[in-house]
Amino acid sequence: MAAPLGTGAFTEETGQEKQDAQEKDRAVPPERAEEAKLKAKYPNLGQKPGGSDFLMKRLQKGQKYFDSGDYNMAKAKMKNKQLPSAGPDKNLVTGDHIPTPQDLPQRKSSLVTSKLAG
């Protein structure tokens, strides 16, 4: 026996009346509360969230920087020291870090047939 269909997922074009009704009891709307949580965790978070930073990251997807000249010069300078290894986010271009061949992901070899066709 089927459960009753959901209710209240449709809202009139005047907006989030359902949401507002729930919020009347709360001081802070959920989005703002979440924002406060985020800012508490990351105090240095920029003020322009939807702006350039996100978009630039999106546009830079797939960018891998490796300059063999830089790499060899850095290696020569730091002959006796370890080269700095990549940070947690390998996709971000950072000024001080010299990418190494080990940092670059492996090129993929030829692929097998899709399992959907199996």
């Binding site: 997922a9 989005e31 546009l59 959907l116």
Partner: protein, 449 residues
């Protein structure tokens, strides 16, 4: 009974039909399905994956002996569409992931589809071969060349039947036209042209010409520091070959008319819902980014999907949508962690049913949602192996948002955010849906009798 009024959602009981793919404990990244699309008759169903492969399923002819096996989909063809590439000039790694597949309407015995990755669009021809010529004079049956001086008798080669072979061949490669990443392709109703859209530009192509394309939209600012929005999706009007829409990361939709100018940077219509400034937060713009835009089959409406809602807009009303449906509003109080795990950037798609009366979109935990535009009722269903007995009726699911959780409800904190339904497809005329759940493809049909 309301049978005379078309397929109202409460009359439809969705049943499991088929599932494709393996039950692996770990998912190979290449197997993640990245696009699903029925062709215009619903006879064929294509999937693309992260590994650059396309698999096409064909619906079997209905059998009188097995009326409840209402035309199952079986593998028809599979091929490697795109390979990984590295652009050495720009130090850019180009994924082979198939972002979109779009079918061309069928004009002869062969099937044609467009498939695209981030940079290159390809036109594939899928055709059947069931005969082959035999009896050549200059080569024998194994293909070895015969010595012409040894031939004393001439024969006429004849066509003989052979086992059916389905071949996929790349007929056109449309490359080097996109600096940024292609998010959409759309075939025009003139069947002669199509468009491809990346983050900042939209190009118009003629199917016959691969070394040229017209740039019809360019929103790249002169100074990239001034960049405030990107193009997220684009589609041609289903009937008017001069009209198309594109959506943005700021939650707006622009409708353009190619008759007005060669470069359609100035829109003919601009759709935007006014925002309540008191509701604005760090997340507002991110969750308003439109991840998909689809014209209704009628061409009268457009549907957009942003992170938490699906909206239907009337082309004649630009200042607000006519309908807004909450997909998973309970996530509003989880935005902080969804931002931290990047889920807030997930791009969900949305689809219309054949009669434009019901819309469908995916969510997390392998849930997907349907909204009936006429009755305003909605349902949440789940694609899972547990509900995968043949013709098993899918039981509606419910997320508990606080307070007492009923026995068969699931709490928001128990949702699996790694199980996302980003891609779904609805058969053009029947109640058959295809739902991509990571590396598995589920096919559901409405109950027969």
């Amino acid at each position: 009974s309301l049978a005379g009024f078309g397929s109202l959602m409460q009359d439809v009981l969705w049943c499991f039909s088929q599932v494709k793919g393996t039950i692996d404990t770990g998912v190979t990244e290449a197997d993640i399905i990245s696009t699903v699309e029925f062709n215009h008759t619903g006879e064929l169903l294509a999937t693309g994956d992260k590994g650059g492969r396309v698999v096409i399923f064909q619906r079997e002819q209905e059998s009188k002996n097995q009326p409840h096996r209402r035309g199952e989909y079986n593998v028809y063809s599979t091929f490697q569409s795109h390979e990984p590439e590295f652009d050495y000039l720009k130090s850019l790694e180009i994924e082979e992931k198939i972002n979109k597949i779009r079918w061309l309407p069928q004009q002869n015995a062969a099937y044609f589809l467009l498939s695209t990755n981030d940079k290159t669009v390809k036109l594939w021809k899928v055709s059947e071969r069931d005969k082959r010529p035999e009896g050549y004079n200059l080569k024998d049956e194994d293909g070895r060349l015969r010595d012409p001086s040894m031939i004393t008798v001439l024969r006429v080669p004849v066509l003989r039947p052979m086992d059916l072979m389905v071949e996929a061949t790349p007929r056109r490669v449309f490359a080097n036209a996109h600096t940024y990443h292609i998010n959409s392709i759309s075939v025009n109703s003139d069947y002669e042209t199509y468009m491809s859209a990346d983050d900042l530009r939209i190009n118009l192509w003629n199917f016959e010409i691969t070394n040229q394309s017209f740039n019809i939209v360019d929103i790249k600012p002169a100074n990239m520091e001034e960049l405030t929005e990107v193009i997220t999706a684009a589609e041609f009007h289903p009937h008017h070959c001069n009209t198309f829409v594109y959506s943005s990361s700021k939650g707006t939709i622009r409708l353009c008319d190619m008759r007005t100018a060669a470069l359609c940077d100035r829109h003919a219509k601009f759709f935007e819902e006014p925002e309540d400034p008191s509701n604005r937060s760090f997340f507002s713009e991110i969750i308003s980014s439109i991840s998909d835009v689809k014209f209704s089959h009628s061409g009268r409406y457009i549907m957009t999907r942003d992170y938490l809602t699906v909206k239907v807009w009337d082309l004649n009303m630009e200042n607000r949508p006519i309908e807004t449906y909450q997909v998973h509003d309970y996530l509003r109080s989880k935005l902080c962690s969804l931002y931290e795990n990047d889920c807030i950037f997930d791009k969900f798609e949305c689809v219309w049913n054949g009669s434009d009366s019901v819309i469908m979109t995916g969510s997390y935990n392998n849930f997907f949602r349907m909204f009936d535009r006429n009755t305003k009722r909605d349902v949440t269903l789940e694609a899972s192996r547990e509900n995968s007995k043949p013709r098993a009726i899918l039981k509606p699911r419910k997320v508990c948002v606080g307070g007492k959780r009923r026995k068969d409800e699931i709490s928001v904190d128990s949702l699996d955010f790694s199980k996302k339904i980003l891609h779904t497809a609805w058969h053009p005329s029947e109640n058959i849906i295809a739902v991509a759940a990571t590396n598995n493809l589920y096919i559901f049909q409405d109950k027969v009798n």
